[in-house]
């Protein structure tokens, strides 16, 4: 069998091919073609075909991921969209939640709505909180809606009615009518996207989905046609934000589910590595040119959030997306992050980045500001001649010149300044890593850290030591890890229903019924029997009076009131240090995660070269910060094989990254070709 995954990023399109017979992984990288990203994908495939690696008729699964959806939204390149709401609520989208996170900025505003007021239209209808009809849908009100959509040349319509999470009847009727009366217009009703409460969040999600639907539809159409004409077999799959994949057919109707497909690929890859190593809890870190992203895999599953907000910053509330998205914390710290002094004279690194253009000073493309990559060159982690397999010769002098501004202001040497820049960048990364672990109730000492991206392998050893994680794993081809993660992900659906209940016998009965209903929906979606699916059942619970919930995993057949409550108290204490045994508890929502059991690639070891694993004769002098400057053994990853073991300080170079092993640590290559770094003793 063979598998193919492609990850369309902002700058590069990555392609990973895996052949199960030979165990061989092949990768290709081409420039992304923003005007029509399918060209970039086909270019990458062409390279693979020309090299004789890819034969379309032998590909058993093709997975596609990337930034198409998020770019269409952040660049405001979606379509003209209308919104239909319950009468009295058309402004909910614009009012939002009214918070001012930038609280001392008296010029703050809420984010501008994606639908202008003139295209926000109301119809009479009303459900109550339990889903009972209070006022029937006035279908005649749709005449004005249809007229406005035609007049304004609307290409998509979102429908969001109050309390439709409890009963979607009116939304269904409205969607059917509009689809019939507005042919060619993309229609999304909120219940098709989310069955959770909070009207602003659900409306925002629905609007964003409608806004990108025609864009993604056209793109997938072109891509599918082109792939089919090359001889690839349908169905094709799209990587979703929840860490699973879905058919193109489904993704075209739910394009917003692809919003974080790149990072989701990475987390999914980290979960697969955890599975092979028998480690259910994994910490994932990806460091690219501009940002570092981290997330957690818990009990074998990527940790998800339902409070994702697009374009959120410390000062901007952003746009809510009420869909399960891998819980990723992203900070502005990467290889291109610029070092600078703030008004108070403190040294800072990022979030400003030199990006790919002009890039770090040492790239020699005209960048003059000191970056983390320049610091890595000065400390000796990177080598001017071997960087990127020698394809880009770095300019040591330019890096030193850039770093001098920092050194002068700190009153120190260029070497010490470079170390300071790295320390601060790593302190920022550490705070992000703590946010996804300690602040979410996970003890880093129980976790394995999987590090990817160009920068992950360079920083991982030191971050791991600071956090006290068990070990570090550097996967093969860390520079294309997201695409690799897509390759090993499984088709998955997350279903969620909000229904507030006291945590008693009634809630158990209702939960069983809801889970059965969701399992049925999942089976229908996959077109598969229950034996082909793996289910995880989770209940979101809280003490009465609380708003936020903790998630309790359970199996409905084994439930009883006592077990559910015991599990809840336990989970609450783990997350928040205390339990309230005497307080009443509530069930807020039910969450089913269904995964199709399907063959997935597993890694096998690379073929060992004859001279593999011989002790390194070469060394490079590297400044390891607190451990000082030391001669560090130098290895090439491609000439290593399972059984390899070395002690730090050491460097392992490969085209897309360099793995750093600190003094006091050891590194081994395991039977799958993973590099594993551990503290000695």
């Amino acid at each position: 069998m063979s598998y193919l995954a492609t990850d369309v990023g902002g700058t590069f399109t990555d392609l990973v091919h895996y052949d199960t017979d030979s165990g061989r992984i092949s990768v290709a990288k081409t420039l992304t073609t923003p005007d029509d990203p399918s060209r970039g994908v086909l270019n990458a495939i062409t390279i693979g075909q020309e090299q004789g690696v890819i034969s379309p008729d032998r590909i058993d699964r093709l997975v596609h991921g990337g930034t198409t959806v998020i770019n269409a939204i952040t660049e405001r390149k979606g379509v003209k969209t209308a919104l239909v709401t319950t009468a009295g609520f058309r402004d909910v989208l614009e009012i939002g939640r009214g918070n001012r996170p930038d609280l001392y900025n008296l010029h703050a505003t809420s984010p501008a709505p994606f639908v202008p007021r003139r295209l926000r239209l109301e119809v009479r209808e009303r459900m109550d909180t339990r889903g009972n009809v209070l006022a029937a849908l006035e279908l005649s009100d749709l005449d004005a809606v249809v007229a406005a959509c035609l007049r304004e040349g609307v290409a998509a319509v979102a429908i969001a009615f109050l309390n439709s999470y409890a009963n979607p009847l009116h939304e269904e009727a409205c969607a059917n009518a509009l689809r019939a009366r507005l042919p060619g217009v993309a229609v999304t009703a909120s219940h098709e996207i989310s069955r959770q409460w909070r009207e602003y969040e659900r409306t925002s999600t629905t609007v964003l989905n409608a806004y990108v639907m025609p864009v993604v539809d056209r793109y997938f159409d072109r891509l599918e046609t082109a792939l089919a004409s090359r001889g690839f077999r349908r169905p094709f799959f799209a990587m979703q934000s929840n860490g699973g994949m879905a058919s193109f057919e489904w993704a075209r109707l739910h394009p917003l589910s692809l919003i974080e497909s790149g990072p989701a690929g990475g987390v999914s890859g980290a979960a697969a590595i955890g599975e092979w190593l028998d480690e259910p809890d994994v910490l994932y870190l990806d460091i690219g040119g501009t940002t570092a992203k981290c997330g957690v895999v818990h009990a074998g599953m990527p940790r998800l959030t339902t409070e994702y907000r697009l374009e959120r910053t410390r000062t901007r509330p952003g746009y809510p997306v009420q869909m399960p998205v891998v819980d990723i914390v992203e900070i502005g710290a990467g290889g291109g992050s610029i070092a600078w002094f703030d008004d108070g004279g403190a040294l800072r690194v990022g979030p400003g980045s030199a990006g790919a253009s002009p890039g770090p000073a040492c790239y020699g493309f005209g960048g003059v500001e000191p970056t983390v990559t320049d610091a890595k060159l000065i400390t000796g982690v990177l080598d001017a001649a071997t960087f990127a397999d020698g394809s880009l010769r770095l300019d040591q002098n330019a890096a030193v010149r850039a770093m001098e501004s920092i050194a002068t202001r700190l009153g120190t040497t260029v070497g010490a300044a470079a170390n300071a820049v790295i320390r601060i960048a790593e302190a920022n990364m550490l705070n992000a890593l703590k946010l996804v672990t300690i602040q979410r109730g996970h003890d880093p000492r129980d976790l394995t850290l999987v590090a990817s991206g160009g920068g992950g392998p360079m920083h991982a050893a030191r971050l791991a030591r600071e956090l006290g994680v068990r070990r570090v794993v550097i996967p093969p081809y860390p520079g294309v890890f997201s695409a690799w993660g897509m390759l090993v992900s499984a088709p998955r659906r997350d279903l969620k229903r909000t229904r507030l209940q006291a945590a008693g016998a009634e809630a158990i009965t209702m939960g069983r019924a809801m889970f059965a209903d969701m399992r049925h929906e999942a089976a229908e979606y996959f077109g598969a029997g229950p034996e082909d699916l793996r289910h995880v059942h989770a209940v979101e619970m809280r003490y009465r009076g609380q708003e936020h919930t903790v998630s309790v995993t359970c199996h409905p057949d084994e439930w009883n009131e006592h077990a559910l409550l015991a599990a809840f108290h336990e989970a609450h204490e783990q997350s928040y240090t205390f339990r309230l045994e005497s307080a009443a508890a509530e069930v807020v929502s039910f969450h089913l995660r269904a995964e199709l059991i399907t063959p997935r690639p597993t890694l096998v070891a690379p073929d060992a070269a004859p001279e593999a694993n011989t002790p390194s004769a070469r060394t490079r002098s590297v400044d390891h910060g607190a451990a000082g400057r030391q001669a560090s053994a130098l290895y090439q990853r491609k000439s290593l094989a399972p059984g390899f073991r070395a002690l730090g300080p050491a460097l392992i170079e490969e085209p897309s990254s360099t793995t750093v092993v600190l003094p006091g640590q050891s590194v081994t290559m395991d039977s799958r070709g993973l590099l594993v770094i551990e503290e000695q003793e």
Partner: protein, 599 residues
């Protein structure tokens, strides 16, 4: 020590400084997450009416959560009050609490929990959390009687007591709380959440001491304060020296609808600023007053907005600031003046400073806003013997235009910050209330101008409960938000209760208004003031507003003098008629209630 560190006057290198400051901010963030997630009160978890901080041993604030502005700079005085009372008697594992408004606090509902943090047995600082408890006893559920005449109607007062010893709750205090508040489960749940947040802070501080050393940490405390002070002084120095004044009215105090005159003179001299509120009206025998602690917070909010809105807050920023006011004014109430609605007084104190400084710092300030938090309480019995309910929500409203764009719609008032409105779907699932409309308040409009004010909000409820009542405190119900530089004034905040027979009652601050099934309660907030003359607003922008229904044709003609301002109609400057300076208002604006000449 390196040359640059000597220049900064510090024994800690700049890199360690930056790393530890990042860690301190991460600690207060973590405290906030723990508190918000564990809390039982919607006021805390939806409205985020809480704050967490870390203070030095002398009380100076080092790091604080970014929640709401009301607690900007209240922590130091509260910590000092605890220190004076217990000082040498404090020991590891102790926790203290206070809700005394006259000792640096705000009002009786805000409980501060103060935990001295130790590295071994050596004290290194304090963790403090403040949260608004839904009820602390007193005359009415929610503990904010709008007609209170003394603090004794505002519930339980704990003026600094030990609540934990050796990390164990003291049962006597728990019993006092349990027996004196209406919703003890919620109160004790919130107390637990606050204790957990403070405990986390101490644990993290101990980790820093273990890794970097206590001396390094305390040096960084001083460096953080010194660095902020330097930046604040530089910012003040850049402003023109002089005296800047403003006056305004507080609309009603809860017991009467009187206009209460208040005023301020700001003096900028070199790198210092003095805010003198002398001459503001005496404290009222009504809960609109704020105490000195809340006044300082109000001033610091505006000062911070002016010198460094995005930088993390600490007490170093405020060293150039002096606040002058005699005891016993509405802004410096003393015992036993009630302070239940203190944030209404403190909002007006903030707005006075804002109004005085807006002309010299237009890049930081806007025209006047709806100002009042418009706190609204629905109380009553749940159906089927489900017990009592108390639903509290602040209202979001219209903000003033700036010199460069229209005002913001439907944002929370200056006293708050990262404060969310309440989703209809959550509310309907919990309380016997139904929301029939949640919309921008375009009917009452906003201040016209080259840039117009932002719009307020209309939230209309249908009452379902058999027996329930409403109480509320809406300011700016008579004095409109001020326009600037020729911009018009905005519109008013008010409540309308509409009986099924159509009888309508208009309210602003009300202590108790009985509600019956079928009543409609319409909560309305005003639009902000405009900036610049309406005649300078380009016709194209006015037509866009008409197309979106923000402004109707009649209003466009009245406010902007734009003839036949219909979409598609060709217009040029010659089509403008002289603007008719007319406003429609249900309560006439009082003389002098608008922008003052005094500035």
């Amino acid at each position: 020590m390196k040359a640059s560190d000597v220049a900064r006057g510090s024994a800690v290198d700049a890199v360690t400084h930056e790393i530890l400051q990042g860690k301190l901010l991460a600690i207060v963030d973590e405290m906030g997450i723990v508190l918000a997630r564990c809390s039982m009160s919607p006021v805390v978890y939806e409205v985020l009416d809480f704050a967490c901080g870390i203070c030095k041993l002398d009380g100076d604030l080092i790091a604080q959560t970014n929640g709401i502005t009301l607690f900007t700079g209240t922590f130091a005085n509260q910590v000092r009050a605890m220190h004076e009372r217990f000082g040498p008697g404090m020991a590891p594992g102790d926790v203290f609490m206070t809700n005394d408004p006259y000792q640096g606090g705000t009002h009786g509902c805000d409980f501060a929990v103060v935990r001295p943090m130790y590295d071994g047995v050596v004290p290194v600082g304090y963790a403090i959390t403040v949260a608004h408890w839904l009820d602390v006893g007193g005359a009415v559920p929610g503990s904010l009687p709008a007609d209170a005449t003394t603090m004794f109607q505002e519930g339980l007062r704990l003026p600094g007591v030990r609540v934990m010893r050796e990390d164990r709750l003291l049962p006597d205090i728990v019993a006092i709380i349990r027996e004196n508040v209406r919703l003890p489960e919620l109160a004790l749940g919130d107390l637990n959440a606050q204790l957990a947040a403070a405990r986390i802070a101490e644990r993290r501080i101990q980790e820093i001491c273990a890794k970097y050393g206590r001396a390094t940490l305390t040096t960084v405390f001083d460096d953080i304060l010194a660095s902020s002070e330097r930046q604040a002084r530089a910012a003040v120095l850049a402003l023109p020296d002089g005296r800047y004044s403003a006056s305004d009215f507080i609309d009603g105090d809860g017991r009467s609808d009187d206009l209460i005159p208040v005023n301020l003179v700001v003096t900028i001299a070199g790198d210092t600023m003095t805010f003198d509120y002398t001459g503001s009206a005496p404290a009222r025998a009504a809960p609109i007053n704020c105490s000195r602690g809340a006044l300082h917070s109000a001033v610091k909010t505006i000062f911070k907005a002016m010198v460094a809105p995005q930088a993390p807050s600490n007490d170093g920023w405020f060293r150039p600031v002096r606040v002058i006011v005699p005891d016993g004014t509405v802004f410096s109430a003393v015992k036993p003046s009630p302070t239940g609605w203190y944030y209404e007084g403190s909002a007006q104190a903030s707005e006075l400073a804002w109004k005085a400084l807006a002309p010299i710092a237009p890049e930081r300030f806007s025209a006047g806003s709806y100002t009042s938090l418009c706190a609204t309480y629905f109380c009553g019995e749940l159906p089927d013997g489900g017990g009592q309910f108390v639903h509290i929500e602040p209202q979001h409203g219209g903000w003033g235009a700036t010199a460069h764009r229209d005002g913001a719609n439907a944002l929370i008032a200056v006293t708050d910050g990262d404060t969310f409105n309440y989703p209809a779907e959550l509310l309907e699932a919990k309380f016997p209330l139904r929301i029939v409309r949640h919309a921008l308040n375009v009917e009452d409009g906003s201040g016209a101008g080259r840039w117009r004010g932002g719009f307020g909000v209309v939230r209309e409820y249908e009452v379902l409960a058999e027996a329930s009542y409403l109480y509320a405190s809406y300011g700016r119900s008579r004095t409109r938000p001020w326009g600037l530089d020729g911009g018009r004034d905005g519109s008013l905040n008010y409540i309308e209760v509409i009986r099924p027979d159509g009888t309508t009652t208009r309210l602003a601050r009300t202590a108790h208004h009985a509600l019956h099934p079928g009543d409609r309660v319409r909560l309305v907030t005003g639009g902000g003031g405009g900036w610049g003359s309406p005649e300078q607003r380009p016709p194209a922008q006015i037509r866009e507003d008409i197309a979106d229904g923000y402004v109707d044709v009649a209003a466009a003609e009245r406010e902007y003098g734009l003839a036949a301002a219909t979409p598609g109609h060709k217009t040029g400057p010659q089509e403008r008629k002289p603007a008719i300076n007319a406003r429609i208002s249900l309560i006439p604006s009082p003389p002098g209630g608008r922008r003052e000449q005094a500035r």
